[in-house]
Amino acid sequence: MSEQTIRVGIASFAHLHAMSYAHAVNQLEGATLTGIWDEDPERGQKYAAQFNTTFYSDLDSLLDAIDTVIVASANVDHKPLVLAAAAKKVPVLCEKPLATTPADAREMIEACAKAGVQLGTAFPVRYSDAVRKLRDAVQSGALGQTLMIRGTNRGTYPGGWFGQREKSGGGAVMDHTVHVADIVGWIWECDFAEVYAEAATRFHDTEVDDCGMLLATLANGVTLSLDPSWSRPNQSFPTWGDVTLEVTGTDGVASIDVFNQNNELFNNQTVRAQWQNWGDNLDYLMIKDWVEAIRDGKPAPISGEDGLRAVLLVEAAYRSVESHQPEKVG
């Protein structure tokens, strides 16, 4: 069984993380990138050529030819693609956010459960050594009892469909709440109870929110502040963004800055300074873990339920943006 080569497909390159996932599959021993489907055939053909694989114009034909599929479409297309994979009994790793509404996420979870296939959510930040060591420290009680947590996942504006509500389901709050929500939920093994949120469009000509601020309460009573804004200047910021967490506990404080392992480059040909990250390739570690789980018939390393937890927080945050008061999560 463990000798078997896992045949991987990618459904849609609408989300550019697909590039990184395709690279990872091509790097992995014991996995092969069997094919790509894309709703935009031109884009699909282009990436099929780039990654040395086959373009499938028919999704079901791709699903028939593979052991697992990675969905990297625009947010609202996650659901139909995951349901199509479930119908063909193909385990599916879905880009975050799992869905744009809790109802959609639940439908996806149920369909995969009924089909008996794994549903995973792409939360690569869990594979950061800093995040893992922080989890160990928190769970071993090294910080005492956790009191408050500050989180950020700030970024540049991704543009394209991210700025179109009917494709994205929302803006910065939709896109950038979920990574920090997931690592917090994972480290403290806890769901969210309540959230207050502000959101606005302050930076870009876009129909969705491009910035926001959340103050969430976990079911264990701990407060999390979370900045999901696309507030890094696209033309001049030296990197795409950040994931940071600072934990204040009764016995001390721990801070992580997941993408802080950089060399700084100043080059007269470019306007901006550049941070060249030399840290672990988290996408690679995530894809490797996923492929091994599929090969060994193990549960999804990061599940659909994990994805749902973050979606629930996003949905409540948008309710709070409307009501101007904290809202219950779920």
Binding site: M148, A200, R202, L215, D227, S229, R232, S236, T248, P326
Partner: protein, 330 residues
């Protein structure tokens, strides 16, 4: 100009040392019912009288102005007494413990025809002053998301008044108010606030708070203050706007760091004093205040500004207590 110091604690000593170096100003007396040894020592060094009663100090006709640097709940009484005695007053921040007290202080100084300055010294810290000017110049375009954090170890003092919420107002009124004053100064009035904190967590000598602000301009703010760190003093801010990002973090701005071999007997060698600025902020602030008392222009912060920051801080405390967002009438 002859100054009397009301209080001889930590801040009174800072201000007395500063005044001693300002041409045309001198410290002639300290009044503190619990005269701390360090206060006595400094008074002797400066050749100032050592008194136990503020009334006695205020009765002296050779004193033109006073510095009120006593626990926050006593600001109002002592400022009012000083005004009635015809002295100009420099009062430490926060202006007062309650809005009613603050309003009364403004009325009394007006009635007495004396001047009241409030020690919102952050407007004199160069990184914050420069950021204010930078925003006014449009360096970041239209501000969208503003973050600011401040804090460190709990200030353990004789009598423990900082830990008594009824006296100090906790970390929000004592620490966060620094940011609040700077934020209002730089970004204008606040429309709505929601906050969470450790006020009612029953943790002796620990407090922390996180607040989300919505400015009338539409910008979103996040402010955090802590007394839950084991040591050190941390400040940071960032201003993301339509045209750029401006940020500062006091952990990255050191100009002089030591790494020393231990003493020959193996004991650690204490680090020499670090470098900072030629004109440190408390000096620049006091120079402005002395000049104003002598008929010059008003300092950067007015007593009315102090009252605005106080109102916002108390709304944040209210939000922490009620779990509700608080909106301000326009």
């Amino acid at each position: 100009m002859r100054f009397g110091m009301i209080g001889a604690g930590g801040m009174a000593r800072v201000h007395a040392s500063v005044l001693n170096n300002i041409p045309g100003a001198e410290v002639v007396a300290f009044a503190d019912p619990q005269m701390p040894p360090a206060g006595r020592e400094l008074a002797q060094q400066l050749g100032a009288d050592i008194l136990t009663s503020p009334e006695e100090l205020l009765a002296r006709s050779d004193i033109d102005a006073v510095v009120v640097a006593v626990p926050t709940d006593l600001h109002c009484d002592l400022v009012v007494q000083a005004a009635r005695a015809g002295k100009h007053v420099m009062c430490e921040k926060p202006l007062a413990r309650t809005v009613e007290q603050g309003e009364r202080m403004l009325q009394e100084v007006e009635k007495a025809g004396v001047k009241l300055a409030v020690g919102h010294v952050v407007r004199y810290f160069p990184e914050y002053a420069a950021a204010n000017a930078s925003v006014a110049r449009g360096d970041v375009g239209v501000p969208g998301v503003i973050r600011a954090t401040r804090g460190g170890a709990f200030p353990a003092r004789p009598g423990g008044w900082f830990g008594d919420f009824a006296r100090s107002g906790g970390v929000v009124l004592d620490v966060m108010i620094h940011e609040l004053d700077w934020l209002i100064w730089t970004f204008g009035a606040v429309e709505r606030v929601y906050a969470r904190g450790l006020l009612n967590a029953g943790l002796p000598n620990k407090d922390m708070a996180m607040a989300v602000l919505r400015f009338r301009s539409g910008a979103i703010g996040y402010v955090e203050a802590t007394w839950a760190r084991p040591s050190g003093f941390y400040t940071s801010f960032e201003i993301a706007g339509s045209g750029g990002l401006l940020r500062s973090n006091n952990q990255n701005t050191g100009t002089l760091q030591f790494s020393l071999f231990p003493n020959p007997d193996g004991t650690p060698r204490p680090a020499p004093r670090g470098a900072y600025l030629h004109d440190e902020p408390y000096t620049v602030q006091m120079r402005d205040i002395v000049r104003w008392f002598k008929g010059g222009p008003e300092p950067r912060t007015s007593a009315a500004d102090g009252l605005e920051a106080l109102k916002l801080a108390l709304a944040i405390i209210e939000s922490i207590g009620t779990g509700k967002a608080i909106s301000f009438a326009s």
